[in-house]
Symmetry: C2
Subunit: 354 residues, 2 copies
Amino acid sequence: MDDEATAARPRPNLAAVAALAGVSPSTASLAFSGSGPVSIATRERVLAAAAQLDYAGPDPRAQSLRRGRSGIIGVVIEDRLRDAFRDPMNIAMLDGIADETGSLGAGLLLLTENGEGAASIRNAPVDAVVLIGCSPSLAAQVAIFRQRGIALVAIEAEPMDEVLAIDLDNRSASHTLARHLSDLGHWRVAMVTLPLDAARTRGVLTEAGITVSTGYTALERIRGVREVFADAPGMMAAASSIDEGLIAGLAVLSEPSTRPTAVIAQSDLLAVGVIRAAEQLGLVVPHDLSIVGFDGVKLDGIAPYDLTTMVQPAVEKGRAAGRGVIALLGGEHPRPVCFTSRFHLGTTTAPPAG
Amino acid sequence: MDDEATAARPRPNLAAVAALAGVSPSTASLAFSGSGPVSIATRERVLAAAAQLDYAGPDPRAQSLRRGRSGIIGVVIEDRLRDAFRDPMNIAMLDGIADETGSLGAGLLLLTENGEGAASIRNAPVDAVVLIGCSPSLAAQVAIFRQRGIALVAIEAEPMDEVLAIDLDNRSASHTLARHLSDLGHWRVAMVTLPLDAARTRGVLTEAGITVSTGYTALERIRGVREVFADAPGMMAAASSIDEGLIAGLAVLSEPSTRPTAVIAQSDLLAVGVIRAAEQLGLVVPHDLSIVGFDGVKLDGIAPYDLTTMVQPAVEKGRAAGRGVIALLGGEHPRPVCFTSRFHLGTTTAPPAG
DNA sequence: CGAAGTTATCGAATCGATTCGATCGAACCG
DNA sequence: CGGTTCGATCGAATCGATTCGATAACTTCG
């Protein structure tokens, strides 16, 4: 009964509508798309026939085959959505992309690179792809998309051929932060970094680890710091989150003899975690320990700190990526963009106590 | 030069590969899909030809037309991604959906219902759609998808025909919280609710507002509370966030003469905001004011409270929705699911002071 | 050695719409 | 009044793959 009701009602197609309206399929198509000369009477007849048949409009699958465009933009996210969306910067970028590409029609397709997700990278019917953040298998992904002839935009990734780069001044921004601490008189400075490799290994930052790293953003930020503090040690976090900042912060601060007077965290969330760690160890910020972050996340609701940080235009980065996608699809050759971060002096930095 | 390089390289299709390999397109298709008897020699010849032409595999657009399936699952999100993803529950659900539907192939397509997004609802090449949370235009959306013959799953929405419901025990869970406060001796209890209408109106909860409301979850939670406190007043927030909780909290608590002894916030984030409001007004939680939330968000990193709340299985809800999608696409008739929340006694509730 | 049964391959129809070029009729102009 | 032009409509090809039924070759068994 139920099955019959469902199965016995095959979706009508444009040809059926055209037949009922007494016109050819081509005319019916014209009537729907609005492009091309169709008399008002005919159009209304077609629309009436469509209504009578409960026709929902042209099948997007057929359209995308014929037009060679699906209207879908892919966004490649790291393994788990949960992890990716924990970082407010990623959400902001996604929002910016959605803002600009909304007019294209279909929407944003979330693609993950893990396991069975590889299939999604190979099979997704996307017109263009935005690569958010750096991924271990970035090169492999880019190769696949290139072979498929799909337009590519990468946010904060190493420059690559045929990939439109949307970059951030990670290195000089980090330099600015380091310089700020240096100016205050700090010289024992440690870093808490974003993940450097695919495995998101926690632990001490080593030169070997840097060499094989695939984390472009993290690397650039390290380089910026080391332009000022050439030997600054570091601790790698497994993600950009408060929890991870706490873990890394405890590791960095727990040993009093090697305790730095300032910590440069590669994200605001990590910085908040480091502050927590400091508090747990009885250190007063900024008296005993200066802390800087990166991103400019609004912490109003999250933590009662005014963090010294570099504010980056995350939504704007997403918008630029979205505009880049549109330009590429329009056959243009947009130029790469590099955004600059703005220094924000908060209350978490001060001259070293000693 | 560049244009020539790009334009002069039309993507090869399966027919071209077949021609080069000296077989028919049908055989080449068999060789790629692996379904059907193809001799090893032939398959290798086809694959070699594909490699030679730099063929990236069957075009997903053509496949989806032929097969009638795109492998894409749509997820309808409220207006702005930013707003939707501010709520950890939504992220958790999305993650659960992704978990279960990952095997389907293409990925999750984010659909928004605003302005031009309406086009995306009408045109998205999706096989099924998960409606997350309640939307003002839910009925209209459902009508469109139904007409298009797209399988529907709704998380926490009013029961509708041909829509698989994944529900939560919002009413009885809220009853439990209210009962908890009642048992402690509270009788002047106020609510801070999730948005009740499309406009996300802030302000005093009115009976008229309840009547025209489209916010299923918010309504159910109100009903649960009013089973215990029949006349409990409320303040509507514009979103589930700490900021909004602060605003609503200040509104509820600022007038000492009408100040409640307990506040039932409809989400943990709202509850944290209300606690902030209480602190700003010099009230001590839980001595001067008891506060309960809803959701069971991990606040470890966000706020130093152990909130009394109902813990809901958000990821599991998403998983159930994902399984529902798969079942529906498999032609099954899955039964609706209703999850239950678990009471968590924290340190934000106590008997009233007076 | 011929009938029955496999196995590999091919042809052609099909999915549903778009679009270019052709056609037909009517209005317009000299 | 005949030729031209413009507008509306139609036919047919096309997008790229999948899949069913047919065919051919080849094995197996009586």
